[in-house]
Symmetry: C2
Subunit: 232 residues, 2 copies
DNA sequence: AGTCCTCTGTGAACGGTGTTCGCGGTAGGG
DNA sequence: CCCTACCGCGAACACCGTTCACAGAGGACT
């Protein structure tokens, strides 16, 4: 079909349905949904080709008819969850607009904790991923800055959302075994007496709820810094 | 030796040398160095038990005498790299002090690109890791904020350094195949005509050097936001 | 000195992973 | 109608992390 050098390397440029042979028994949407289900339950590492194939009731290697590699499957997964993004209306106040967008993305991260592992990398370059970028750039329309700088600011915003979500999710996500080991070592650090600042920071009781709206306090400042714009 | 329930779960509380038997042929430092070498060359995924064992000239499973799991090996690696951190002197100007610390950590990330994958998670809780935290908290001494909040600010700082380093390293790190696929899709997005903002941001030529000192513009603002302190 | 007894390194093995290859069969395009 | 491109599948390859029993060495105690 393709002359080997013409076959698109990007999955998003390969049409899902081939013209010639028998109809495929599955589709990208179903595969992505199955993989997302597995990841929601057991994290990204629980997503293996064989398990996904098992969920949709296919042979182990049938997935390679739809996807070139596991990385492409992850791209499919991220695109699928980004489709659920609820975009807020733009008001023209760009800081508030980007913040609202970041909150929507944050909601996705809460619903699918594994997304933080993917969003830490480069910004998502998939159909729904570019929609996200487009909306973010649209929110930044009033800002006077070169396009590349804006794009970088958007990438940083996405990374910040992922970072904040990860730290807040870290409490429940990690293994019990692992956190107990961590606490065990920290206790020994405290009693050792070196690192007095750290000891005090750990032993002081937490002031009630922790911090609410960390994103709201961080993101506007990150944006002003990234865009090189004077504080307004 | 330990009553099974007393054996420390944290590797940092287990003494390296056991008293009784023959002397170990290797040590944690050598193992970590070998693993770091592999990771520097081929990324974190190139670090496998068998390869590390091969580098130090040991059998495949000898490593499990020194390390309980691959995760612990990664902890060893990160701690080894953090030992090289060049700590700047504290001046009392806490923003500048934390920024200098962040720059030192950033240097480590440049030298060992795989560290960004590790630092994105929780802050490093290892001997040299707690030294880093201690120094950061010492730099934040003049700030009036609860210890937990300061600790969270430090965690965010580390995450920010990793994020910035990752985005700047992304250009050379990813596979040529993968980036070409990405560019291929982006071109198609541009010619499709939807997403005009994105198209403009991509096609506008980069203004010379890009941005220098992104960290210097971002970190102080992040700190003020995270610490809930009035801008000074 | 002699005797334990614990620790060390090892090779085989298990279950799992991503991925490739070749096969039989099916169904649309010429 | 036929042929060819595609689908699904099973076997296989090369890894991966990890477990286990075993041979041997060498400090600790008598």
């Amino acid at each position: 079909m393709y002359a080997e050098s013409e076959r698109p390397r990007s999955i998003w440029l390969r049409s899902e349905r081939a013209g010639r042979g028998p109809a495929p028994g599955h589709d990208r949407a179903g595969i992505a949904a199955a993989a997302v289900g597995l990841a929601d339950a057991g994290g990204l590492e629980a997503v293996s080709m064989r398990k996904v194939a098992g969920v949709i009731g296919a042979g182990a290697t049938a997935l390679y008819r739809y996807v070139d590699s596991r990385d492409e499957l992850v791209q499919l997964m991220l695109d699928a969850v980004l489709a659920d993004l609820r975009y807020p209306l733009l008001t023209g106040a760009w800081r508030a607009d980007v913040l609202a967008l970041a909150r929507a993305l944050d909601a996705v991260c809460r619903e699918h904790p594994w997304t933080v592992d993917v969003l830490q990398g480069q910004p998502p370059m998939s159909p729904h991923g570019v929609v996200l970028l487009e909306r973010a750039l649209a929110a930044l329309e009033p800002v006077d800055a070169p396009g590349q700088v804006k794009l970088e600011a958007v990438a940083l915003t996405i990374g910040l959302v992922a970072t904040v979500a990860r730290t807040e999710l870290a409490a429940g996500r990690s293994t019990e075994e692992w956190r107990s080991a961590q606490e065990e070592y920290l206790r020994s650090v405290v009693v050792a007496g070196e690192h007095p600042h750290l000891a005090r920071a750990i032993t002081t009781s937490t002031p009630a709820s922790g911090d609410q709206d960390l994103l709201g306090r961080l993101l506007p400042r990150v944006l002003t810094g990234a865009l090189g714009v004077t504080d307004a």
